[in-house]
Amino acid sequence: MGKKERSMTWRLWAVVVAIGLGGLVITGRLVQLQLLDHGKYADQARLTHMTEETLIDRRGALLDRNGYPLAASEDTFDVLVEHRIWKNPNVAARSSQQLEGIVGIAAEDLVQAVVDTDIFEVAVARDLDFDTATAVRDLGLRGVRLVTSSHRVYPEGNIAPQLLGFVGRDNVGLTGLEADLDSILSGAKGTVREERDGLGNRFALGERDETAPLPGANVVLTIDRYIQLLAEQELAGTIKEHKATGGTIIVVQPKTGEILAMASQPTFDVTKLDLSDDSKIALYRNRAITDQYEPGSVFKLITTAAGIDSGTVGPNTWWEDTGALHIGPWTIRNWDQSVNGSQTVQQMLSKSLNTGAAWVAQQVGPEKFYEYIQRFGFGEPSGVGLTGDAPGRVRTPDNDPENWRPVDMATNSFGQGISVTPVQMIMAVAAIANGGVAMRPHLVKEVVYPTGSQTVQLEQTRQVISPTAAQTLREMMGVVSDGVSKTYLNVKGYRVGGKSGTADLVTADSGYKKDAYISSFVGIAPLEDPQLVVLVKIDEPKNLPWGTVVAAPAFGRLVERALAYLEVPPQGDALVTAP
């Protein structure tokens, strides 16, 4: 009995020792895994479990000067389907049939889109609105989830598309202000790092580290939606009437340099964007700042300004127009081949005499003449703050001594042989309207951040000509406008000043296109206290080329409605005093 008990005790101890040793081994391994190598395995687990996602908040809106949104973002929803779940044909068929009626995509196409790929999730429908997305969510389909996306909308419709530009699917600005102001509009991206299981489900109590994104700032533009619409309607109407190939209208407030409207054609529809069509790329550029052209007789304003401000000539200074001005082997003639005899500088401007402009330039001299051209802002980017702001081309004795010839100054004086952009041209005339002070053109009035706002300060570029010379120029422009037939320029209630231009169209090889012209008119309104400067430029009108006939009527109509809209009181008989 005693022997049997000893045997049992020994076996019992053996089992206890075996279990104890086993326990020690397991405990030791656990200590190694959970204490000694904890950091290593925790890092490995975190690498497997942690996912990082970029968070983007709402992109800022582009607003007109009165706060009306021209481009804004609204949330949309993309439908994602988990490939693994839809590998089951029954689930795929049932779910796709339920989705079909809501997202408007055939069930077979939905299934095909998912099963044809090996990626974890497939987007089967994009940019759903809130109600449609809610309907999808309410279905509660397994393996189907919604992710919030964003979609740019244009509440005013297709307004100023080249100026506003557009964004890509990733919400990054691609052209226009959307691209130039992208860093302001897009805000700051955030991130969320969180633990998920092997199926991508979030751990309820897992580690989570979120840096919230910041919404983009809203940008208040100087553009006025009503004046922009007027400009676009006038431009479209004029192009249609004269069967032109394109054109530009810009409206500027001379005292501030604020651009109220900037319209160009040919254009595109930003609300129906098709980026796959490469042939439309040329339509995306903002022609008002990128395209250079020979301004023609409009440039006589600059020549006259140089003559008057330098004290070389006055409005009543006369010279003898023999119909031809000989400069070396070249002869300058008037546009209508006319011979006018004794003419004043005012008559030169009113009749748009090339010989007179060339004579004024000769009196000023090349050094001063090109100095004035530079002071008016030609030959350098306008500083409007948009990508593609072209400098134009001005050949002077200084920057191109080998090729510059005296006849160049003569042709430059009436706007030939010199390239400018529409925005340069209008800002030069705006300086005349603003007492000789050139303002920096700008399109952004205010940036409204979530925490505060920043107002853009007005910036005087330089005093181009004296206030007296500017006043004289304005009066001369008034005389020019008064001489235009009422058929073409009749702004009821306001006196305006302006100058027309008709220029040959330069080709890519620096030649001139046969029978192709650019008709333009630039004017100030009202003349007594300029509130608006408007440039109308029409490319290749087919019936008549003259700026007075083609562009001046659009200027008149636009100015009349814009001044009434801006509550600028008219003068004279148009204003009736209430009893």
């Binding site: 509440p155 419709g157 505060g452 009349e560």
Partner: protein, 142 residues
């Protein structure tokens, strides 16, 4: 002897008769409750996390709806739509002639940016008149 036996049997009776099951039951309950505690905590936290997630989703959905409605308002107020409505539904036309009447009233105030595009107004902190001498000293710190 008899007393001692009785005493043993009484102790054994206490341990094995009525007390032991009670102790074991209590112990089991304590162990069970202790085990339940983290489960309840975990369950509560999971439920709260779920609620937070649901509220986040709800908030996002309401924000999306709000933005959609804002866009609808802007679209309804667009010039092209107003012009279209005026021409087609109300059969309005551009005036043939315009009369300007001067009236002796103050001009309208400048139009302001709609409040939804302005940064939120911050309430200024009320002046703390009861601040102690030591608290006021902190104000001198750079």
């Amino acid at each position: 002897m008899a007393t001692a036996r009785k005493s043993d049997s009484t102790l054994a009776g206490v341990a094995t008769g009525s007390t032991l099951p009670v102790i074991l039951t209590l112990a089991a309950m304590i162990v069970g409750l202790t085990a339940m505690l983290p489960l309840v905590q975990s369950s509560g936290a999971t439920s709260t996390a779920g609620n937070i997630q649901r509220l986040h989703t709800e908030k996002s959905a309401l924000q999306a709806k709000l933005r959609e409605l804002e866009t609808d308002v802007a679209t309804l107020g667009s010039l092209s739509r107003i012009q279209q409505e005026a021409k087609t539904r109300l059969e309005m036309e551009q005036p043939k002639s315009v009369n300007y009447i001067a009236v002796d009233v103050a001009p309208p105030a400048d139009r302001r940016l709609p409040s939804r595009f302005l940064p939120p107004q911050r309430e200024s902190a009320p002046a703390d008149n009861d601040a102690s001498f030591w608290e006021e000293l902190f104000g001198w710190l750079p």
